[in-house]
Symmetry: C2
Subunit: 488 residues, 2 copies
């Protein structure tokens, strides 16, 4: 990037918001997805849609890559500037514009933190359900770009299900406004939903209007422990087939339970092979009714013990234990490799079985936990990246796990996104025709390919798995499944 | 279309499923949107995705327009073959493939009738919420193409919210499979949601996988009558703002009540200025609780009378009366002009007021009813298309109504689609940047412009409103708001 361009960018945002020293750039060379790293040429920190439009015009004219970024908590290398260019730090666009209690919507800029949306709307009795693991750090812009999921996906869906309107800047600097506050709107193609989950490859999101729900009156948490892992998976299947949709239905296998207990000290029975953490919300009566039925189903399907949280605090501590799973796992070995292969929920037991077979075949330690109700598992390999032989086996193992998920009607990524990490596998899910359609959509928005290049679409063979250092460097607290005690 | 091409098409589907006599073509020259009519060159009735792929290759090679069509119940001229070409009658693809009770999904071909989906899934205790007025006649392929709405949109959303996976044939004959049964899936762009509501302009839908919910345990219907129309609108606003989301919240003004009563004889108090029909579903206790609170709110906001349906039959007859509104209106005058301008629900009162002002200004009889909870109104003008002067005033009036909706943060079409009828107004909602993005998406899928040409994107000035004959010709039974006694 030459000095003229740098000066142009500086003149748009002001000297303080243009960074290009090596130390400054280094901070933006990685995200929560270790092993992926690349230096940007500049970091620009705009404060308004007008500034972003001006930046995009410069980038477009000179064919400079644009990587928009919030907190960088994604787990797919989504904000690593792999082709250099400009990292667009969106954190100054952090105005919470409005909660509209009549229309049940909230409107805010992309730099607003996810948990702050929760807090703001819950204060007036409303509810924004998506709750990715990184919610205390992640920005809503990032949540929209990656279509963040979380633990309430089973009953409430994911980010996409709540985004009603967007303002976004196109690569050429044009400002697009799509959707709005209308409960029904069929005026043309649904560009809003297309932008959600587009991983910064189509446009820069500059304003978000989200749908809200009434906040459920109460919630209740329970756990069920199992001597046999497939009993737990079958319980999940039976609960759903019995037409009960809990707010949360999480699964931890024994190895995950052991490390979580060591981390969180909540008295988990470590001789058990698996546990389910189940939460239902709604009115008091409905919740009591559902939880009682769920407990019956768990017992009937072989749960060794079923326990209700006696207080809201106990419920919260169980949920916190679940949320700490990845951080806990990350302490065990130097390297923690996490995936999010997902299957239709009825195939959960088959998928867990496949993961265990693959772990045995490649002689690896793979712990599995995740959003069982969604079929969204997080098989997590505890390893050491310095052991090249083992890392090679890990890559082979996850390749087999992806194939197994696809064979079971699943997908390569349930909630982390494609980014760089899954780009080589996207064709497994969508096939050559799907790849071609997606490439053409990409070109329709971004004819010069400047928007987050190297993401979603594979250019060449790369490292294929997401590796998290378990070295206490703080990264484990920054990603989708991070601890609530993240050190930042 | 020359004989060689006709022979090619005949050889694909067989002689019986290729139509090209004037009488046969005439049937496919219009849909439920009168005043729009154009003859196709041929009608082809395929039985499989393979046949459709072969047809698309022929059409692509010779640049022949393709208009896919189910029952033709749309209200935007969406299936009128305005540039000739092939009408693809999808009714032979009508296999109901599967109800998956573990994953809560149903998979079927596009020719399956909407109400048959309701019946099939309700028989096993499941629920597919979207219920467009035409549901007894409309096909699911049409519902997906238009993103059909209905009376349960307030609580349950629209077609888009339930489509998880699609198979579709692209203009070049490639078969695309997107989405599936996964509750979470972020593998690339969400092409599934993009195809829903794309009005046949991108691809031909050949298989649909829909999300199902548990069937609510029970439901309860109530009505509230008002001496003042704005009291009714304010009640709607207060109900939602009180964080109660009824399954259905419908509005009828006095003029609509009068004609509905004349049609359905259910004892409506015709001195009232407006009524709300409200239905809540869920568990018995929850429903009782919500209905009691809603009744309190209606009374507090000035309802002259609030009445609970005493039996399920009485509830059903009230809902049927609402569903008969358009058919009832259509009997009054020779021509019934119906619109679906939609606003954020908090602006309902302001919108109703605007409609009344416009009606007065242009000296027109406009009755208003619709999905109040969604802000999705159906201002309906009773007129006579032979009176050119009045029709001209009608067009001016609706143009003003669209502008008023946009000014109130609304949209030009809540659930009918753009098609030909609203093409001239789409830029009002999405602006030049939105139009440009949509055009580029269109080109990405359909570079030769053969998919339902003349829809969504305005080419030239056309007649601007949807006119329904109230002549008893049967059309009124075929569209979105048709009677349940439709004569076919």
């Amino acid at each position: 990037m030459n000095q003229n361009i740098k000066n142009e960018l500086r003149s748009i945002v002001g000297r303080d918001y243009f960074l290009d020293t090596p130390n400054e750039l280094y901070v933006y060379s990685y995200d929560a997805t270790p092993l992926y790293q690349a230096m940007p040429d500049a970091v620009v920190i705009p404060s308004s849609v007008e500034e972003i439009a001006a930046i995009m015009k410069v980038a477009s004219q000179h064919r400079i890559p644009i990587v928009s970024r919030g907190s960088g908590t994604n787990l797919c290398g989504g904000t690593v500037p792999v082709e250099g260019g400009i990292v667009l730090n969106m954190n100054r666009l952090n105005t919470f514009k409005e909660i509209d209690q009549d229309n049940l919507t909230a409107t805010f800029e992309p730099g607003v933190i996810t948990a702050d949306v929760h807090k703001a709307v819950e204060a007036v009795g409303l509810f924004y359900p998506p709750d990715p693991g990184s919610m205390r750090i992640s920005t809503m812009g990032g949540n929209v770009a990656e279509c963040a999921g979380g633990m309430r996906g089973l009953k409430y869906g994911v980010t996409k299900d709540y985004i009603m309107g967007l303002e976004a800047v196109l690569p050429n600097g044009d400002v697009l406004r799509v959707g709005g506050k209308n409960a029904k709107d069929v005026a043309g193609y649904d560009v809003t939903k297309l932008l959600v989950g587009s991983e910064g490859t189509l446009a820069v999101i500059t304003e978000i209007t989200a749908k809200l729900l009434p906040l459920p009156e109460t919630k209740q948490t329970m756990v069920a422990y199992y001597n046999d892992l497939t009993d737990a998976a079958r319980s999940v299947q039976r609960i759903i087939a019995s037409k009960i949709i809990p707010a949360t239905l999480e699964f931890l296998d024994q190895e995950t339970m052991i490390v979580v207990e060591d981390f969180a000290h909540i008295g988990l029975p470590l001789d058990m092979k698996a546990m389910l953490i189940i939460e239902q919300d709604g009115t008091q009566l409905q919740v009591e009714h559902d939880i009682a039925r769920i407990a019956d189903i768990c017992r009937a399907e072989g749960a060794a013990e079923v326990r209700m949280a006696q207080t809201a605090e106990e419920g919260a501590s169980l949920m916190a234990a679940r949320r700490s799973a990845l951080s806990a796992l990350a302490r065990v070995k130097p390297t923690t490799i996490l995936e999010d292969a997902t299957v239709p929920r009825a195939n959960l037991a088959a998928m867990v079985e496949q993961v265990n077979l693959v772990a045995k075949k490649y002689d690896l330690q793979i712990c599995t936990f995740g959003h069982a109700g969604d079929g969204n598992l997080h098989p997590t390999c505890l390893t050491d990246e310095r052991d090249k032989g083992e890392i090679h086996r890990v890559e082979q193992a996850f390749e087999e796990i992806f194939h197994a998920a696809i064979k079971l009607g699943g997908t390569i990524t349930g909630e982390h996104g494609v980014g760089m990490a899954k780009a080589d596998y996207l064709d497994l899910k969508v096939g050559p025709v799907g790849m071609d359609v997606m490439r053409r959509i990409k070109e329709a928005f971004d004819p010069h390919g400047i928007m987050n290049p190297g993401k979603i679409f594979a250019k060449s063979s790369r490292r294929r798995v997401v590796v998290n250092h378990g070295c206490g460097c703080g990264h484990t607290g920054e990603h989708e499944h991070g601890t609530e005690q993240a050190d930042k």
